[in-house]
Protein backbone atom coordinates (compact mmCIF):
# COMPACT_ATOMS: atom_id res chain seq x y z
CA UNK A 1 0.00 0.00 0.00
CA UNK A 2 2.75 2.41 0.84
CA UNK A 3 4.31 1.71 -2.53
CA UNK A 4 1.06 2.65 -4.16
CA UNK A 5 1.12 5.98 -2.36
CA UNK A 6 4.70 6.65 -3.33
CA UNK A 7 4.08 5.98 -6.99
CA UNK A 8 0.91 8.06 -6.95
CA UNK A 9 2.89 11.18 -6.26
CA UNK A 10 5.32 10.86 -9.13
CA UNK A 11 3.70 8.65 -11.80
CA UNK A 12 0.49 6.81 -12.48
CA UNK A 13 -0.69 3.79 -10.51
CA UNK A 14 1.09 0.49 -10.93
CA UNK A 15 -1.62 -1.21 -12.95
CA UNK A 16 -1.65 1.60 -15.50
CA UNK A 17 2.13 1.42 -15.63
CA UNK A 18 1.88 -2.31 -16.31
CA UNK A 19 -0.63 -1.70 -19.09
CA UNK A 20 1.63 0.94 -20.63
CA UNK A 21 4.56 -1.43 -20.40
CA UNK A 22 2.62 -4.16 -22.24
CA UNK A 23 1.84 -1.70 -25.01
CA UNK A 24 5.47 -0.61 -25.07
CA UNK A 25 6.58 -4.21 -25.55
CA UNK A 26 4.09 -4.56 -28.38
CA UNK A 27 5.34 -1.36 -30.01
CA UNK A 28 8.95 -2.48 -29.66
CA UNK A 29 8.25 -5.85 -31.26
CA UNK A 30 6.24 -4.22 -34.03
CA UNK A 31 8.95 -1.68 -34.80
CA UNK A 32 11.70 -4.28 -34.62
CA UNK A 33 10.14 -6.56 -37.18
CA UNK A 34 9.07 -3.65 -39.34
CA UNK A 35 12.52 -2.09 -39.42
CA UNK A 36 14.19 -5.43 -40.12
CA UNK A 37 11.80 -6.24 -42.93
CA UNK A 38 12.19 -2.79 -44.42
CA UNK A 39 15.94 -2.42 -44.20
CA UNK A 40 17.39 -5.88 -44.56
CA UNK A 41 19.27 -6.67 -47.82
CA UNK A 42 17.47 -8.91 -50.31
CA UNK A 43 17.85 -12.70 -50.22
CA UNK A 44 19.32 -14.51 -53.17
CA UNK A 45 16.66 -16.99 -54.31
CA UNK A 46 18.65 -19.04 -56.81
CA UNK A 47 22.17 -19.15 -58.13
CA UNK A 48 20.74 -18.49 -61.62
CA UNK A 49 19.69 -15.02 -60.69
CA UNK A 50 22.35 -12.34 -60.74
CA UNK A 51 23.68 -10.85 -57.54
CA UNK A 52 21.38 -8.19 -56.18
CA UNK A 53 22.61 -4.66 -56.90
CA UNK A 54 24.94 -3.28 -54.20
CA UNK A 55 23.24 -1.69 -51.23
CA UNK A 56 22.55 2.03 -51.25
CA UNK A 57 25.77 3.64 -49.97
CA UNK A 58 23.79 6.16 -47.93
CA UNK A 59 22.62 3.31 -45.70
CA UNK A 60 25.43 3.04 -43.19
CA UNK A 61 26.48 -0.62 -43.20
CA UNK A 62 27.58 -0.71 -39.59
CA UNK A 63 24.42 0.90 -38.28
CA UNK A 64 22.33 -1.71 -40.08
CA UNK A 65 24.28 -4.55 -38.54
CA UNK A 66 23.85 -3.03 -35.12
CA UNK A 67 20.15 -2.31 -35.51
CA UNK A 68 18.96 -5.81 -34.60
CA UNK A 69 21.22 -5.77 -31.56
CA UNK A 70 19.95 -2.42 -30.37
CA UNK A 71 16.31 -3.26 -31.00
CA UNK A 72 16.44 -6.68 -29.40
CA UNK A 73 18.22 -5.19 -26.40
CA UNK A 74 15.37 -2.70 -26.11
CA UNK A 75 12.83 -5.54 -26.29
CA UNK A 76 14.58 -7.49 -23.56
CA UNK A 77 14.87 -4.36 -21.44
CA UNK A 78 11.14 -3.70 -21.81
CA UNK A 79 10.36 -7.27 -20.80
CA UNK A 80 12.61 -6.96 -17.76
CA UNK A 81 10.90 -3.74 -16.75
CA UNK A 82 7.58 -5.53 -16.99
CA UNK A 83 8.85 -8.23 -14.66
CA UNK A 84 10.08 -5.60 -12.24
CA UNK A 85 6.69 -3.90 -12.26
CA UNK A 86 4.95 -7.23 -11.65
CA UNK A 87 7.22 -7.83 -8.69
CA UNK A 88 6.25 -4.42 -7.33
CA UNK A 89 2.52 -5.21 -7.36
CA UNK A 90 1.17 -4.77 -3.83
CA UNK A 91 -1.11 -7.79 -4.00
CA UNK A 92 -2.27 -8.61 -0.49
CA UNK A 93 -2.71 -12.18 0.72
CA UNK A 94 -6.13 -13.43 0.24
CA UNK A 95 -8.24 -12.33 -2.69
CA UNK A 96 -11.69 -10.90 -2.67
CA UNK A 97 -13.15 -12.41 0.51
CA UNK A 98 -10.27 -11.26 2.69
CA UNK A 99 -10.59 -7.77 1.31
CA UNK A 100 -14.36 -7.69 1.83
CA UNK A 101 -13.91 -8.94 5.38
CA UNK A 102 -11.37 -6.23 6.09
CA UNK A 103 -13.71 -3.61 4.63
CA UNK A 104 -16.51 -4.80 6.94
CA UNK A 105 -14.18 -4.66 9.95
CA UNK A 106 -13.00 -1.19 9.04
CA UNK A 107 -16.56 0.01 8.54
CA UNK A 108 -17.55 -1.25 11.97
CA UNK A 109 -14.53 0.41 13.55
CA UNK A 110 -15.22 3.60 11.62
CA UNK A 111 -18.80 3.66 12.89
CA UNK A 112 -17.68 3.13 16.48
CA UNK A 113 -15.06 5.88 16.28
CA UNK A 114 -17.61 8.11 14.57
CA UNK A 115 -20.07 7.67 17.41
CA UNK A 116 -17.39 8.41 19.97
CA UNK A 117 -16.49 11.53 18.00
CA UNK A 118 -20.13 12.64 17.99
CA UNK A 119 -20.37 12.11 21.74
CA UNK A 120 -17.26 14.16 22.38
CA UNK A 121 -18.49 16.86 20.03
CA UNK A 122 -21.84 17.08 21.83
CA UNK A 123 -20.21 17.31 25.24
CA UNK A 124 -17.74 19.90 23.97
CA UNK A 125 -20.52 22.01 22.48
CA UNK A 126 -22.46 21.89 25.74
CA UNK A 127 -19.40 23.01 27.64
CA UNK A 128 -18.79 25.73 25.11
CA UNK A 129 -22.32 27.03 25.61
CA UNK A 130 -21.81 27.02 29.37
CA UNK A 131 -18.57 28.93 29.09
CA UNK A 132 -20.15 31.40 26.71
CA UNK A 133 -23.01 31.99 29.14
CA UNK A 134 -20.66 32.55 32.02
CA UNK A 135 -18.57 34.88 29.90
CA UNK A 136 -21.72 36.76 28.93
CA UNK A 137 -22.76 37.15 32.54
CA UNK A 138 -19.32 38.27 33.64
CA UNK A 139 -19.03 40.79 30.84
CA UNK A 140 -22.56 42.06 31.58
CA UNK A 141 -21.64 42.56 35.18
CA UNK A 142 -18.46 44.34 34.19
CA UNK A 143 -20.37 46.44 31.74
CA UNK A 144 -22.96 47.45 34.28
CA UNK A 145 -20.33 47.99 36.94
CA UNK A 146 -22.36 45.84 39.28
CA UNK A 147 -20.84 45.10 42.65
CA UNK A 148 -19.95 41.37 42.90
CA UNK A 149 -22.51 39.69 45.11
Amino acid sequence: MSLLLLVEVTKMDIISQLQEQVNAIAADAFNTFGALQRDSPSVRLSPNYPEPPPANPTEDATSFAEQPKIMSAALVKAAKQFDALVAALPLSEGGEEAQLKRIAELQAENDAVGQELEKQLEAAEKELKLVQELFGQASDNCFNLKRPD
Binding site: F33, L91, N110, V113, G114, Q120, E127
Partner: protein, 169 residues
Protein backbone atom coordinates in the same frame (compact mmCIF):
# COMPACT_ATOMS: atom_id res chain seq x y z
CA UNK B 1 -35.69 9.99 -30.11
CA UNK B 2 -34.86 13.56 -31.08
CA UNK B 3 -33.93 13.88 -34.72
CA UNK B 4 -33.82 17.66 -35.03
CA UNK B 5 -30.31 19.04 -35.36
CA UNK B 6 -30.73 21.51 -32.47
CA UNK B 7 -33.54 20.09 -30.36
CA UNK B 8 -34.90 22.31 -27.61
CA UNK B 9 -34.25 21.28 -24.01
CA UNK B 10 -36.86 18.92 -22.53
CA UNK B 11 -40.00 20.73 -21.32
CA UNK B 12 -39.90 19.31 -17.78
CA UNK B 13 -39.09 22.69 -16.28
CA UNK B 14 -42.79 23.61 -16.53
CA UNK B 15 -43.60 21.05 -13.86
CA UNK B 16 -41.65 23.03 -11.29
CA UNK B 17 -43.42 26.34 -11.70
CA UNK B 18 -44.76 26.41 -8.14
CA UNK B 19 -41.92 24.51 -6.54
CA UNK B 20 -40.89 27.35 -4.25
CA UNK B 21 -44.33 27.65 -2.68
CA UNK B 22 -45.23 23.98 -2.64
CA UNK B 23 -42.34 21.53 -3.00
CA UNK B 24 -44.80 18.69 -3.39
CA UNK B 25 -46.54 20.13 -6.45
CA UNK B 26 -43.89 18.84 -8.82
CA UNK B 27 -43.50 15.16 -9.60
CA UNK B 28 -40.77 13.08 -8.09
CA UNK B 29 -37.73 12.44 -10.31
CA UNK B 30 -37.97 9.06 -12.07
CA UNK B 31 -36.31 6.11 -10.33
CA UNK B 32 -32.80 5.08 -11.34
CA UNK B 33 -32.57 3.04 -14.51
CA UNK B 34 -31.65 -0.58 -14.18
CA UNK B 35 -30.38 -2.91 -16.83
CA UNK B 36 -29.69 -1.51 -20.29
CA UNK B 37 -30.60 1.89 -21.64
CA UNK B 38 -30.20 3.83 -24.84
CA UNK B 39 -28.28 7.10 -24.88
CA UNK B 40 -27.75 9.10 -28.11
CA UNK B 41 -28.55 6.03 -30.11
CA UNK B 42 -26.05 3.76 -28.38
CA UNK B 43 -26.81 0.95 -25.95
CA UNK B 44 -25.31 1.12 -22.50
CA UNK B 45 -25.63 -1.11 -19.49
CA UNK B 46 -25.71 -0.25 -15.82
CA UNK B 47 -24.09 -3.53 -14.89
CA UNK B 48 -20.39 -2.77 -15.29
CA UNK B 49 -18.57 -6.05 -15.16
CA UNK B 50 -15.51 -7.10 -17.10
CA UNK B 51 -16.63 -9.67 -19.70
CA UNK B 52 -14.62 -12.87 -19.50
CA UNK B 53 -12.32 -13.76 -22.34
CA UNK B 54 -14.58 -16.57 -23.49
CA UNK B 55 -17.41 -14.10 -23.93
CA UNK B 56 -15.20 -12.13 -26.28
CA UNK B 57 -14.22 -15.27 -28.19
CA UNK B 58 -10.62 -15.26 -26.99
CA UNK B 59 -8.89 -18.35 -25.67
CA UNK B 60 -7.77 -18.01 -22.08
CA UNK B 61 -4.14 -19.00 -21.63
CA UNK B 62 -3.67 -18.58 -17.90
CA UNK B 63 -5.07 -21.05 -15.39
CA UNK B 64 -8.61 -20.42 -14.26
CA UNK B 65 -9.89 -21.15 -10.77
CA UNK B 66 -11.19 -18.97 -7.98
CA UNK B 67 -7.92 -17.42 -6.84
CA UNK B 68 -5.49 -16.52 -9.57
CA UNK B 69 -1.86 -15.88 -8.67
CA UNK B 70 -1.58 -12.74 -10.71
CA UNK B 71 2.14 -12.22 -10.39
CA UNK B 72 2.93 -15.76 -11.45
CA UNK B 73 0.56 -15.70 -14.40
CA UNK B 74 1.76 -12.29 -15.56
CA UNK B 75 5.36 -13.40 -15.44
CA UNK B 76 4.73 -16.66 -17.30
CA UNK B 77 2.71 -14.81 -19.95
CA UNK B 78 5.62 -12.41 -20.37
CA UNK B 79 8.03 -15.30 -20.83
CA UNK B 80 5.72 -16.94 -23.39
CA UNK B 81 5.48 -13.66 -25.21
CA UNK B 82 9.24 -13.39 -25.53
CA UNK B 83 9.45 -16.98 -26.79
CA UNK B 84 6.78 -16.33 -29.38
CA UNK B 85 8.55 -13.23 -30.60
CA UNK B 86 11.69 -15.29 -31.06
CA UNK B 87 9.65 -17.93 -32.87
CA UNK B 88 8.26 -15.29 -35.19
CA UNK B 89 11.74 -14.10 -36.00
CA UNK B 90 12.76 -17.66 -36.78
CA UNK B 91 9.73 -18.29 -38.95
CA UNK B 92 10.37 -15.13 -40.91
CA UNK B 93 13.85 -16.38 -41.72
CA UNK B 94 13.04 -20.02 -42.51
CA UNK B 95 9.39 -20.25 -43.62
CA UNK B 96 8.21 -16.69 -44.20
CA UNK B 97 4.80 -17.71 -45.51
CA UNK B 98 3.75 -19.10 -42.14
CA UNK B 99 3.92 -15.84 -40.25
CA UNK B 100 0.16 -15.52 -39.76
CA UNK B 101 -0.21 -18.23 -37.13
CA UNK B 102 2.66 -16.86 -35.09
CA UNK B 103 1.29 -13.34 -35.25
CA UNK B 104 -2.11 -14.62 -34.11
CA UNK B 105 -0.55 -16.37 -31.14
CA UNK B 106 1.32 -13.24 -30.17
CA UNK B 107 -1.84 -11.16 -30.28
CA UNK B 108 -3.61 -13.84 -28.22
CA UNK B 109 -0.95 -13.48 -25.55
CA UNK B 110 -1.37 -9.72 -25.57
CA UNK B 111 -5.12 -10.03 -25.18
CA UNK B 112 -4.65 -12.35 -22.23
CA UNK B 113 -2.14 -9.98 -20.67
CA UNK B 114 -4.48 -7.03 -20.90
CA UNK B 115 -7.42 -9.03 -19.63
CA UNK B 116 -5.42 -10.13 -16.58
CA UNK B 117 -4.42 -6.54 -15.88
CA UNK B 118 -8.00 -5.37 -16.25
CA UNK B 119 -9.22 -7.99 -13.81
CA UNK B 120 -6.80 -6.54 -11.26
CA UNK B 121 -8.76 -3.29 -11.22
CA UNK B 122 -11.56 -4.43 -8.84
CA UNK B 123 -8.88 -5.62 -6.44
CA UNK B 124 -7.25 -2.19 -6.70
CA UNK B 125 -10.59 -0.50 -6.06
CA UNK B 126 -11.16 -2.52 -2.89
CA UNK B 127 -7.61 -1.86 -1.73
CA UNK B 128 -8.13 1.87 -2.28
CA UNK B 129 -11.35 1.70 -0.27
CA UNK B 130 -9.54 -0.06 2.57
CA UNK B 131 -6.85 2.60 2.51
CA UNK B 132 -9.40 5.42 2.57
CA UNK B 133 -11.25 3.82 5.49
CA UNK B 134 -8.01 3.43 7.42
CA UNK B 135 -7.12 7.07 6.80
CA UNK B 136 -10.57 8.18 7.91
CA UNK B 137 -10.41 6.14 11.09
CA UNK B 138 -7.01 7.62 11.86
CA UNK B 139 -8.27 11.16 11.28
CA UNK B 140 -11.35 10.58 13.42
CA UNK B 141 -9.28 9.16 16.26
CA UNK B 142 -7.00 12.17 16.04
CA UNK B 143 -10.01 14.48 16.17
CA UNK B 144 -11.36 12.67 19.26
CA UNK B 145 -8.00 13.10 20.96
CA UNK B 146 -7.87 16.78 20.07
CA UNK B 147 -11.38 17.42 21.36
CA UNK B 148 -10.63 15.57 24.59
CA UNK B 149 -7.51 17.63 25.09
CA UNK B 150 -9.28 20.91 24.42
CA UNK B 151 -12.12 19.99 26.74
CA UNK B 152 -9.68 19.21 29.51
CA UNK B 153 -7.92 22.53 28.96
CA UNK B 154 -11.23 24.36 28.99
CA UNK B 155 -12.36 22.63 32.14
CA UNK B 156 -9.08 23.48 33.83
CA UNK B 157 -9.43 27.13 32.84
CA UNK B 158 -13.02 27.10 34.00
CA UNK B 159 -12.07 25.77 37.43
CA UNK B 160 -9.27 28.29 37.72
CA UNK B 161 -11.48 31.18 36.75
CA UNK B 162 -14.14 30.09 39.22
CA UNK B 163 -11.45 29.91 41.83
CA UNK B 164 -10.14 33.43 41.16
CA UNK B 165 -13.68 34.79 41.01
CA UNK B 166 -14.52 33.21 44.34
CA UNK B 167 -11.31 34.60 45.75
CA UNK B 168 -12.54 38.11 45.06
CA UNK B 169 -15.73 37.87 47.08
Amino acid sequence: MATASYPPPPPYYRLYKDYLENPKSASEPPPAIEGTYVCFGANYTTDDVLPTLEEQGVRQLYSKGPNIDFKKELRSLNRELQLHILELADVLVERPSQYARRVEEISLIFKNLHHLLNSLRPHQARATLIHILELQIQRRKQAVEDIKRRREEAQKLHKESLGTLDGHY
